[in-house]
């Protein structure tokens, strides 16, 4: 069960965005909602073949291309036509459940519609067992510049707990193949799976470093309500996550990544240098605009955010009827934009410019510095940058910054 949609206002059928303006940065996200199995921890909008009810994977590419055309018309009508597309991200689900040619075709329609910026970043997510060297070469030839592999863990028991089906020995093969095809490589890791010991995580991080990837994402497992994992924990079949152990794992990984030359740039993301950061994700975090293609995808244009119908068949029906596939949207007012700016920017190594903070947030700053959550040096330079401890307590930092109460008494 995916988590429920946010509450918003109804979205108009024509999808037109009021107060539209030309985006400064523009990305396109394509949500490919197919998986071979449903992982127990996952609350994303994904479907296995048996759950698709009247929608076929073969129809996906054409429908996605129809939504690209709808996007073209809507952005034009909204006076929000992007100058070009800087990043494209195929996420899921498992995008590589589709033939490489389908992905290339969708990318082609995006390129034709708005044009790709020189050096545009085009990422495809893949499971190590859903792609081979041939497929990777096809993707690279079709314009994909970056692969993000769902490695998750190097330890078979942990992979089993996560319902991941791939053989960990495949990971080095696909990583090498992607590199040979000329693409950047990122690997996704998950820590804190029930039963995962510290040694297991160390083994995973070592294995990831041995691949010398350009980029690593490492997420603490979130037990989402309504998932099979949450049920198993509730029934006592699996232990619930131990946050102290997770903190220790994060700290261990941080140290190991640094030795490998991977530098933290967002709470859960590390890269070799500024060029190998995920520009697509940075665009989310910097408040840029993007259009999300596909069932359940979110979009954000000119201060309006909307979300598409979640079931592929419902999404496809709307797109084919020439209507907006959005089922709800929200207009971000100044307060909301400020909150999101604090919430997202504080997670970045780039930092949160103090000049943009409200006075009561600034009043909280000395407390955050003396509690060791925020770097003192950066604060003197006019930026709020979290310390390692602060990264682990990032929600608390944001809470203090947005709290309207008087802050006092820190250690």
């Amino acid at each position: 069960m995916p988590h429920p949609d946010p509450e918003g206002e109804p979205a108009p059928r024509n999808g037109v965005v009021p107060g539209g303006r030309t985006p400064e940065h523009f990305g396109v996200y394509v949500h490919v909602p197919f998986c071979s199995v449903r992982c127990g921890y996952c609350d994303f909008n994904t479907y296995t073949a048996s759950q698709l009810r009247g929608f076929s994977q073969t129809e996906f590419a054409d429908t996605a291309i129809s939504e690209v055309r709808f996007a073209r018309d809507t952005l034009a009508a909204s006076h929000a036509v992007p100058r070009r597309v800087e990043t494209v991200f195929f996420g899921g689900g498992t995008p590589t459940r589709l033939p490489a040619a389908d992905l290339v075709r969708i990318l082609g329609s995006i390129r034709e519609t708005w044009g790709l910026a020189p050096g545009a970043e085009v990422t495809v997510e893949a499971n190590p067992d859903s792609i081979d060297a041939q497929g990777l070469r096809e993707l690279a030839a079709g314009g994909v510049t970056r692969m993000s592999f769902g490695m998750q863990s190097a330890v078979p028991e942990v992979l089993r707990t996560l319902d991941r089906t791939h053989d960990p020995r495949r990971v080095p093969l696909v990583v090498r193949a992607a590199g040979e095809a000329g693409m950047q490589v990122s690997v996704d890791l998950i820590y804190g799976a029930p039963g995962e010991r510290m040694e297991d995580w160390e083994e995973t991080v070592e294995a990831a470093c041995a691949l010398h990837p350009d980029h690593v994402s490492a997420y603490a497992l979130i037990v989402e309500p309504g998932t099979a994992l949450a049920r198993r924990i509730r029934r006592g079949e699996l232990p619930s996550p131990d946050e102290d152990l997770e903190a220790a794992k994060y700290e261990w990984a941080e140290a190991r990544f640094l030795r490998e030359g991977l530098h933290w740039y967002e709470t859960s993301n590390w890269s070799r240098d500024a060029e190998t950061r995920s520009r697509h994700n940075l665009n989310y975090w910097m408040g840029g605009d993007w259009w999300g293609i596909g069932p359940g995808a979110h979009s954000h244009v000119s201060g309006v955010r909307w979300w598409n119908a979640r079931h592929p068949a419902a999404w496809a029906g709307r797109v084919r009827a020439g209507e907006s596939p959005a089922t709800g949207r929200e207009r971000l007012d100044a307060q909301t934009r400020y909150e999101e700016w604090v919430l997202l920017r504080s997670r970045l190594s780039e930092g949160l410019p103090l000049a943009g903070l409200h006075p009561h947030a600034l009043a909280a700053l000395p407390g955050l510095v003396s509690a060791g959550l925020v770097q003192a040096g950066a604060a003197q330079q006019g930026l709020l940058v979290e310390t390692l401890r602060g990264r682990l307590l990032g929600d608390l930092v944001v809470d203090r910054l947005l709290s309207d109460q008087e802050i006092q008494g820190y250690n």
Partner: protein, 616 residues
């Protein structure tokens, strides 16, 4: 034998009914023994409530009364009944069945000449019924023993008739058998009341006197005062004086309940009814006072009642501090109809502004809290119930302590606590568990008697503080629900009591201080510190949670510093959800209380104060 003819009715019209045609009685019964249902059948049998207007528990006015199946406030209903062609006016004065409301029972009984002792034919007499029976016997009332629910498959009328006969000294065949459910035996019971309950005595020509036995606030009519006239006649427009308070009022309306209020020309000697004087506060029409005529006043008042004394104290706090003025208004309103409720403002570091309230007992506390929440829409938190102690410091000053935070600092000479004489009636197979419980609660056994071959009556002296906690629940669970409890105040005793404070990072949390026996201090400390450790979220720093007697720490736990509090993923589709989560947290923060530097959600206090099974 139902309603009389019109000419007959005039013989029993209010203000002109001769004493010989009046019968005043009440029903003494345990909760659940079917008193309200029997009353319903009487209302129907006498024809004053038609079957189509009938609703269950007709006389129980409050929602809480109907839902819980208990009567809190007494009522008086006038019913016509004809025996051998002679009409009579029967006044049924309802009595509450719970130990907390004993003072109401004695008030009701003082207005009667007879009492129906109603006992469930499947359960036999219970401890509270027994004590009410003794109250009635002390008042020289004629007792009519009745077994109810004879239609139940589990009924054992022969056995319980023998028990009742033994108790009141009658023949088992004198015990009437009725069913409130089917109405069987109800006409016979009404006949018996007429035949056996003596008519009231009084002097028609003497200066009018009436006893106030209840005073109820009604939002539309103001205070409705229930009276039993002893001498003379009261009429509408009479100017009357309350002999104790000296207040003077005019009778705007006088009448009887049948069972809806029915105005009449007056009330003569021996009659029971109500007056309305336009006062808005029950304290101006005080229960136990004597009313007399202003123009021809009586010289001596009737014997009254003692004011009910609060026995159990608890702090009531609004969960949302903005509701404090609403709570104050609500208490003021409740006080209009509940003279037993006392309260004064109180401040707690942990809970903010609230009121220290005194109650007759735990049920009274529960009912007041429930009425405040239900009728006034308040969200409340109640601190653990406490009793009133006397503490003498070394310098000789004695302080009354109803709130542990008032416990004097420094060396203590002695502490005394209220004790009660408790009666427990139980089937004999549970005597062991009951004795064990009473001993755990520092009880001293006084005696034990067999009510019958199978049922035992145990008398214990117990500290009241040991009863207000969860004694009744424990008693019920150890006796499979069979035991019943009654208790009455029995003065005070010195005891080795200490105040245990709970400290968060060295700061005492006033809401958790407790006065407990020295032998139980350690276990209280361990329990509370463990509970708080579980309930208080981790902070940026380690927080010690300690229990202390004075400066001596007796238990310690520690809440480790928070290490991780961040959502791992935050991509395009997560942003809205994440922001909403944050907004929710922010709203929750308004309910945080800061103790020293420690932020504690209000819910943690509430959870820590709520007492569960595992707490003993």
């Amino acid at each position: 034998m139902t309603q009389g003819t019109p000419s007959r009715d005039s013989l029993i019209a209010p203000a002109s009914t001769p004493l010989s045609r009046i019968r005043n009685f009440s029903i003494i019964a345990h909760i659940d023994h079917g008193k309200s249902t029997l009353a319903d059948r009487m209302l129907q049998a006498t024809g004053i409530v038609a079957a189509r207007d009938m609703r269950a528990q007709y006389l129980d006015r409050m929602d809480i009364e109907r839902e819980r199946g208990i009567t809190i406030k007494s009522q008086a209903v006038r019913m016509p009944w004809t025996v051998a062609d002679e009409p009579y006016a029967l006044n049924m004065i309802d009595t509450p069945g719970h130990v907390d409301f004993n003072y109401e029972v004695s008030r009701s009984l003082a207005a009667c000449e007879g009492a129906v002792l109603l006992v469930d034919a499947a359960q036999g007499i219970q401890a509270q019924t027994l004590s009410n029976l003794y109250l009635a016997l002390e008042g020289d009332l004629t007792i009519i023993p009745v077994l109810n629910k004879i239609d139940l498959p589990a009924a054992d009328p022969d056995r319980y008739a023998a028990e009742l006969a033994d108790l009141i000294g009658c023949d088992p065949s004198d015990v009437l058998r009725v069913s409130g459910k089917t109405g069987a035996g109800v006409p016979e019971l009404l006949d018996r009341i007429v035949a056996e309950v003596p008519p009231p005595t009084g002097d028609l020509t003497a200066p009018p006197r009436a006893l106030i036995f209840d005073s109820v606030y009604d939002a539309y009519r103001g205070v409705v005062t229930y009276i039993r006239t002893v001498d003379g006649v009261f009429r509408a427009r009479d100017r009357v004086r309350m002999m104790r308070t000296g207040m003077q009022h005019e009778i705007l309306e006088i009448g009887v309940s049948s069972p809806e209020p029915s105005p009449a020309s007056g009330l003569g000697p021996g009659e029971v009814g109500y007056i309305i004087t336009g006062v808005k506060d029950v304290r101006h029409s005080k229960v136990g006072d004597t009313i007399t005529d202003l123009s021809a006043p009586a010289s001596t008042p009737l014997p009254g009642y003692e004011d009910p004394k609060p026995m159990v104290f608890s702090g009531l706090y609004p969960i949302d501090s903005a509701q404090y003025p609403d709570l104050r208004d609500a208490l003021d309103k409740l006080k209009l109809s509940d003279a037993a409720l006392v309260y004064e403002p109180e401040t707690s570091v942990a809970l903010g502004f609230g009121f220290r309230c005194g109650f007759l007992g735990l049920l009274h506390l529960e009912i007041v809290t429930e009425r405040l929440e239900r009728e006034f829409g308040l969200d409340l938190i109640a601190t653990a119930p406490a009793v009133s102690y006397h503490v003498r410091a070394e310098d000789g000053t004695v302080t009354e302590v109803t709130n542990p935070s008032e416990f004097p600092e420094g060396k203590i000479d002695w502490v005394s606590e209220p004790v009660v004489d408790a009666t427990v009636i139980t089937p004999k197979e549970f005597v062991g568990p009951v004795m064990e419980l009473c001993q755990q609660r520092r009880g001293t056994m006084q005696n034990m008697t067999y009510l019958s071959e199978t049922r035992v009556e145990l008398h214990y002296r117990l500290p009241l503080a040991e009863i207000v906690f969860d004694f009744f629940d424990q008693l019920k669970s150890r006796t499979k629900g069979y035991a019943s409890l009654d208790y009455e105040p029995a003065g005070e005793q010195h005891a080795d009591l200490v105040k245990v404070d709970i400290l968060l990072q060295g700061e005492p949390v006033d809401a958790f201080s407790a006065i407990v026996h020295r032998d139980q201090a350690y276990s209280y400390g361990v329990r509370m510190t463990a509970k708080l450790k579980k309930l208080i979220p981790r902070q940026l720093f380690e927080v010690p949670v300690q229990a202390a007697i004075g400066a001596r720490i007796i238990a310690r736990e520690s809440i480790r510093a928070l290490r991780k509090d961040v959502l791992a993923k935050c991509y395009g589709g997560d942003i809205t959800r994440k922001r909403k989560l944050l907004e929710k947290q922010k709203a929750g923060k308004r309910r945080m209380k800061t103790i020293g530097r420690v932020e504690v959600p209000q819910e943690a206090f509430i959870a820590a104060l709520s007492t569960g099974e595992d707490d003993r």
